[in-house]
Symmetry: C2
């Protein structure tokens, strides 16, 4: 951040603080002006379960959709057809090159003190083992500090990070950095307890990374149950030996697309409210919750508005970003492809926490923008989504909010999200038609009002 | 039931009703007399997590324990050694011949409208398919009535019972009788939605049965998720085709044992309080909850009493019954082997609902016996296990209670029981050391007081 940016941000913050009350009161009168229309939007969104049925059809038909897979591209083709059939405008796929990591066959077998197949999933981005696998004793650690204490013992062994879930941000560190930290002390492979807040023997995958200065070692997640089994056995002083076999391979980048469609604005079509979710998923389950649900909910916003014959002042564009999971290439490519029109992006909204019962929105923007959004909260009272707080808006809109576009992230009841996340259990049945319709309603209200209101949301200086 | 039995039962019921208040007041004074001792028992049971550690060691060391398996018999050998080491008396294994059903390799593959492996488990007792499997269209039904409506469509097809869990007794009918009912209308195989109240892609097995008058067809459970996937696809009018392959085989009966040990009574050693759980399990997961936990909790009762130097008036015998899951041969063999001393069995107590937070006991006995047990409930106030109600006591004590022995079934918080039951997710980590110790305490209090009190519990006429 330059001195000029710092100065601008400080000035804007001062301005926002001074203006907080007027902005809020303006927003409140805004809310009153739009209430009749947004009540119609909510009623329409809740009148059927079309969004839910569409997620079911999409995920049943194509299954999971990892970057570089045929199923992802087939799903994108189908979405383009369906968006066109819905009558959306400017339906298109914008090209994005994405990483192509392929899992291959894989297994982890406990060979001592007794033989047993372990429930496992290789971590996304991991290298393979040799064809006959890696057989080595297991050292169980409960933190990076614990690894440091056992560094001598870990040399030449498989390190298992058996770390209970506290919160995602904290626990996911072992998935992301585990291979690097274990390799630093000479481990030959790394296992982690799946990053999950509940488990029924379903292992959870997700992205891991290497560091160019440290030897690459294979990395996999065990089910919570099997990690705990190995930990108990290790704590009894028994020799725990595992054979890990993985064929995982990173191929050259593959072509994919950000898919999008629009409801063109009636007065200021060049000004854009963008909203969406990511259409890629991990290569397990159906990626129904993460994030077909968010993608289709955003898409449904346009269908609901069209059905009501509502054409806002500005354009609303739905974007289904590709490759959020292991690259964020879609979010980045969108920003780059639309660099010239970013100043005309008035809002970037994302749903990537599951379309469970909506609670409100986090606002990634100036204090004044937060105040305006708070003023709109009463419009969402009937669906209980009135909690507006400052915070991040999501990974795919991150490149946009970093460029100063106000961001909005749908917040939902996340109780069960990390039960299913990145596992075989992320399937259609985990979603609820009524809750999903409420998410559509919440997003539709915010998108419509921000796209239609006379003023645009106050912007923040780029980061 | 003979006229004489009917007369006896009627007389006893009249007696019990007349005596209810005096019995209860006697029991209350009983409670006061024993409170100091039972408080010591509870404190001792809650003072460590020895029982939990023992279930963990047992299940980690031997894994699941299906009737006829080597792991069951190895576990029984180890238990006999450990019971002897604990200083229990008359430690022994009483021979029981048990069914030996072996799963073999198995799979269910969706082949149309797209290819995908389904999560499945063959049902216990099922026959195999041919080596190349059964490939047939799937007809989805939601009840036996729905099957009757679609009987013409079901001929030559695979029937899937996609029945949501309501309560175990109701839903398990599809697992038990599904193959017979589907075969009656000419189906070539049967699939069921797993009998489970929650799911993360873990299929649940369990016993099924054939009928000698109806053709035998292979039977398997799909995960809840995959059953719902097939159902959605079928409802869209798509042709759903599955290939089912199963090697399941029923071998000749194999030798097993009911394992038991005693704390001999100081005055009336021939009068017996028997308590236990079943040591066999299905061939998935660890059978930790169902029912290593109940088995070890019952065993721990004797260890706690011995540690406190408490020797009750009568004998307390712990029995780990074999083959509850697919035959009940253990419970039946115990009754037969002890036929001559059944009149001296003063109580038969069982834990087979998971050793979760205890809530109380169900009493399978006369109204007067229920009243006596209710009078003891205040002794369990500190652990919240005061809910005493009339009801079944458990499968393994069933042959004893049918013969007139008063039965007592530990009742626990069953919220999560059918999440894990008969699946790979029935593992050690689902239990809680504190809750399990509370179960030990509750069973120890009831076993001790009934074994020590001056009178025996009123009996009921045999059924």
């Amino acid at each position: 951040m330059t001195m000029r940016q710092l100065f601008l941000r400080a000035s804007l913050t001062a301005l926002a603080l001074a203006a907080a009350t007027p902005a809020q009161s303006t927003a409140q009168s805004l809310a009153e002006r739009y209430r009749a229309t947004t009540d119609r939007i909510i009623a329409a969104a809740l009148s059927d379960s079309a969004a839910y049925a569409r997620v079911a059809l999409l995920t049943d038909k194509f299954g999971h959709r990892l970057s570089g897979s045929a199923s992802l591209e087939q799903a994108l083709d189908w979405i383009i057809t369906e968006m066109t059939r819905d009558g959306l405008e400017n339906v298109r796929g914008e090209p994005v090159m994405v990483p192509r990591w392929v899992r291959g066959r894989e297994s982890a077998t406990l060979v001592s003190p007794r033989r047993r197949e372990l429930r496992m999933l290789g971590l996304g981005g991991s290298i393979a083992t040799s064809a006959r696998g890696i057989t080595a004793p297991v050292v169980v650690v409960t933190s990076f500090d614990d690894l440091a204490r056992k560094s001598a013992e870990a040399r030449g062994k498989i390190v298992l990070f058996d770390v209970p879930f506290t919160n995602y941000g904290a626990t996911v560190q072992y998935r992301s950095r585990g291979a690097v930290e274990a390799a630093k002390v000479g481990a030959v492979a790394v296992l982690i307890r799946s990053v999950a807040s509940n488990s029924m023997q379903n292992p959870h995958t997700g992205a891991m990374r290497y560091d160019s200065t440290v030897k690459r070692i294979p990395a996999a997640a065990l089910s919570v149950e099997d990690a705990m089994l190995l930990h108990r056995t290790y704590d009894r002083g028994e020799r725990v030996v595992v054979t890990l076999r993985m064929e995982a391979k990173t191929h050259p980048d593959a072509p994919s697309r950000n898919v999008m469609g629009e409801l063109r604005g009636r007065e200021l079509p060049d000004e854009v409210v963008v909203l969406g979710g990511h259409i890629d998923s991990w290569d397990v389950g159906q990626g129904a919750m993460d994030d077909a649900g968010g993608s289709v909910a955003a898409w449904e916003v346009l269908r609901v508005l069209k059905r009501l014959g509502l054409q806002p002042r500005r354009t609303i564009r739905v974007v289904l970003w590709t490759n959020e999971e292991n690259g964020l290439r879609g979010g980045t490519a969108y920003r780059d492809a639309h660099a010239a029109e970013l100043s005309k992006h008035v809002l970037a909204m994302e749903s990537d926490g599951g379309v469970f019962a909506p609670e409100g929105f986090s606002v990634d923007g100036s204090d004044e923008a937060v105040a305006v959004m708070r003023g709109l909260a009463p419009l969402l009272e009937s669906i209980g989504a009135t909690n507006i707080r400052a915070g991040g808006a999501g990974a795919d809109v991150g490149p946009l909010t970093a460029a100063g576009v106000p961001g909005l992230g749908l917040q939902v009841d996340g109780t069960r999200y990390f039960w299913y996340h990145h596992s075989d259990a992320d399937t259609m049945d985990k979603l609820d038609p009524r809750e999903m319709a409420q998410c559509v309603a919440a997003m539709a209200v915010m998108a419509y009002v921000v796209a239609d209101m006379p003023e645009t949301l106050p912007r923040r200086a780029p980061r």
